[in-house]
């Protein structure tokens, strides 16, 4: 047996470099990644980069009501004279927080259930996959609406309600991948060598799901943000005066079509965020060549 090189980092580096090279040659993926990075940075740095950070609260400035976009107010002002650009940037925080919390719970839960159902089969599979079927039949938005209304309309309840249904997509994805690779030789080899179930699930199967998970999670960030925006558009998201993009579209729509900027520009912000995550997800899919995620 030849000697195993102690350090194989140069090859890894070139792999990462190759991936980066292929990724950077894909214009839509780069645009998506740029949007995502800018949005995240803008949300984190909101208090320092916005022109009127005090406008996130219940500030009233009646002399500056319904002003159209200008050099002073980039996105115009709303019906009580607050800067819409400032509020839009702060609104990104709520959207990203929603995506983080929902996917932060849904992805681990969905992954574990998918691994278990796909690897063990039998009644474990039947129970998990039938529960998944049931949960899939309830529209997340309707569920979130019902829960938010029955409890109280706040962000935490909405997030929990969305997360309580969202794991199904990840379960289905991981389940189908696990089913495919369960019978492959390297799993059989590990089993023959006496590897524990835990080892096989976590060290052998899970790494093969990572790229599909990354693609799916990136796409889902966009869709969770859309669901959250719909929820707050209906008045069941975070309560005013905290800026929220969906709420801004809803309250601005009362002044259509004259003060179009009050609803259209925050709406465009939602669209751009969702677009960024989708382009990034598509780019990752091309990069990893993942067929399972649609």
């Amino acid at each position: 047996m030849t000697e195993i090189p102690a350090d194989n980092s140069p090859r890894r580096l070139s792999n990462a470099y190759q991936n980066w090279y292929r990724f950077s040659r894909n214009p839509t993926a780069v645009i998506g990644a740029a949007i995502v990075v800018i949005v995240i940075l803008a949300a984190i740095l909101a208090p320092w980069i916005t022109p009127y950070p005090e406008h996130v609260g219940a500030v009233v400035n009646f002399r500056a009501r319904h002003l159209p976009p200008s050099a002073e107010y980039w996105f115009g002002t709303d019906n009580v004279g607050r800067d819409i650009f400032t509020r839009t940037i702060f609104g990104l925080r709520i959207s990203l927080l929603l995506a983080l919390v929902v996917l932060g719970t849904a992805v681990p839960v969905g992954t574990v259930l998918g691994l278990l159902a796909g690897y063990f089969g039998g009644w474990v599979e039947i129970v998990i996959m039938r529960i998944t079927d049931i949960a899939l039949a309830i529209p997340p938005l309707v569920m979130a609406l019902a829960v938010a209304a029955v409890l109280s309309p706040d962000l935490i309840n909405s997030m929990l309600a969305i997360a309580a249904l969202w794991w199904t997509w990840h379960t289905r994805l991981i389940y189908s991948i696990t089913r495919q690779i369960r019978t492959q030789e390297f799993i059989e080899a590990a089993e023959t060598l006496g590897a524990s179930k835990f080892h096989i699930l976590i060290r052998e199967i899970l790494p093969n799901c990572v790229s599909a998970l990354a693609v799916k999670t990136s796409l889902d960030c966009g869709f969770v943000i859309l669901v959250g925006a719909s929820l707050s558009f209906l008045g069941l998201g975070i309560q005013p005066p905290t800026p929220d993009l969906g709420t801004m579209v809803a309250s601005g729509s009362a002044f259509l079509p004259d003060s179009w900027w009050e609803s259209v520009l925050p709406g465009c912000a939602i669209l751009v965020v969702a677009l960024g995550f989708n382009l990034l997800g598509d780019g990752l899919r091309d990069l990893f060549d993942v067929q399972e995620v649609r």
């Binding site: 309830i138 259509l256 259209v264 669209l271 649609r294």
Partner: protein, 341 residues
């Protein structure tokens, strides 16, 4: 026969999902902290009034018995009474469901009528300008929030161009009761009222575009990728070698198998389509079940909320059953695989 067995098994699964769904909905409604009776009566009601209503609704019985009554009611098509105005929830939902059904039906037709050809065109001219155009268009459709598109369409068509109505189902001046199927366009046809059909379509157009965009985008993307998958198969290569004309190859040999993924996606996406209908109906004042659902949710009418969620779930399950049957027709392999599985 194979197909029949496939169907029977599929129907049984659907029934099981529905039972599970009813348990989930019942559990949510009963586990929710707070008393439905207190919620309905408000903070000013006395303790006796609340206790009376609890007894009236059967809330003081054991939980299993309550579930039994809920299921027995469901089986009879009885969803209980509204906690606010005592009206039977089932009849309220029946009255509003037809409008939602008409909107959803038209939406799905639009989504397929535009999504599939766009996907086919993109695959046919892969990596050329039609492909890039379709991909950009499809992704924009998929990521535009339904309520935002609804507002934009309202501004554009209603306020700027003044070409299409922006709220309601029919002009208030038009005296027409859709009392056969509940669908304005179908009933208009049945009664021979062409003016009603045309007006109905005009009112349907904007809400269904707003609702269809996301699904259409997904369908175009899936059709494109599955056409490309199929194009690399040996039998397509063989048909090319045999000199089968391109039109026949694309539309006969490639489109049919490529139709399955968009259909399946349509089934899965159907839940989010119903969800989106909630916001779209609100924006266009469409008198459907979703608008009714929003109203009852804001009024905390627990029985009505349970009814709306249950009917949404049943609608989802039925559509998916129908799609599975369609997939079986389009792709005979599914029927055989279904038998083995």
């Amino acid at each position: 026969m194979e197909f029949l067995a496939f169907l029977v098994r599929r129907v049984l699964w659907s029934l099981l999902v529905l039972v599970g769904l009813s348990i989930v909905i019942f559990a949510i409604a009963r586990i929710v902290p707070g008393d439905p009776a207190r919620m309905a009566l408000g903070p000013t009601a006395t303790a006796e009034q609340v206790a009376d209503l609890r007894a009236d609704l059967g809330l003081d019985r054991p939980i299993v018995e309550q579930y039994g009554r809920f299921i027995a009611g469901l089986a009879r098509g009885d969803l209980g009474r509204s906690l606010l105005n005592e009206r039977p929830v089932a009849s309220d939902i029946r009255d509003t469901f037809a409008a939602t059904f008409e909107l959803v039906l038209f939406t799905i037709m639009l989504a397929f009528a535009f999504g599939v050809p766009l996907g086919v065109a993109a695959a046919r001219w892969k990596d050329r300008w039609p492909d890039n155009l379709v991909r950009v268009f499809a992704i924009f459709c998929a990521v535009t929030p339904g309520f935002f598109l609804a507002l934009l369409l309202q501004i554009l068509a209603g306020y700027v161009l003044h070409i299409l109505p922006t709220t309601g189902r029919l002009p208030p001046s038009m005296d027409f009761a859709a009392d056969i199927t509940g669908l304005v366009t179908i009933d208009g046809l049945l009664r021979g009222r062409l003016d009603v059909v045309l007006e109905g379509l005009r009112y349907l157009l904007l809400p269904s575009i707003a609702l269809a965009a996301a699904t259409m985008g997904q369908i175009a993307r899936i059709t494109r990728s599955s056409m490309i998958d199929v194009a690399s198969q040996d039998y397509i290569e063989a048909s090319r070698a045999f000199g089968v004309p391109e039109r026949v190859r694309v539309f006969k040999y490639m489109l049919r198998p490529s139709f399955v993924p968009p259909l399946t996606i349509m089934g899965l996406e159907f839940a989010s389509l119903i969800g989106n209908a909630f916001v779209v109906e609100l924006v266009f004042a469409w008198p459907g079940m979703a608008a009714y659902g929003i109203r009852t949710i804001l009024q905390k009418d627990l029985n009505a909320i349970m009814g709306v969620v249950m009917v949404s779930g049943v609608f989802f399950v039925l559509v998916n059953l129908l799609i599975d049957v369609l997939v079986g027709f389009v792709d005979p392999r599914v029927r055989i695989r279904g038998r083995r599985a």
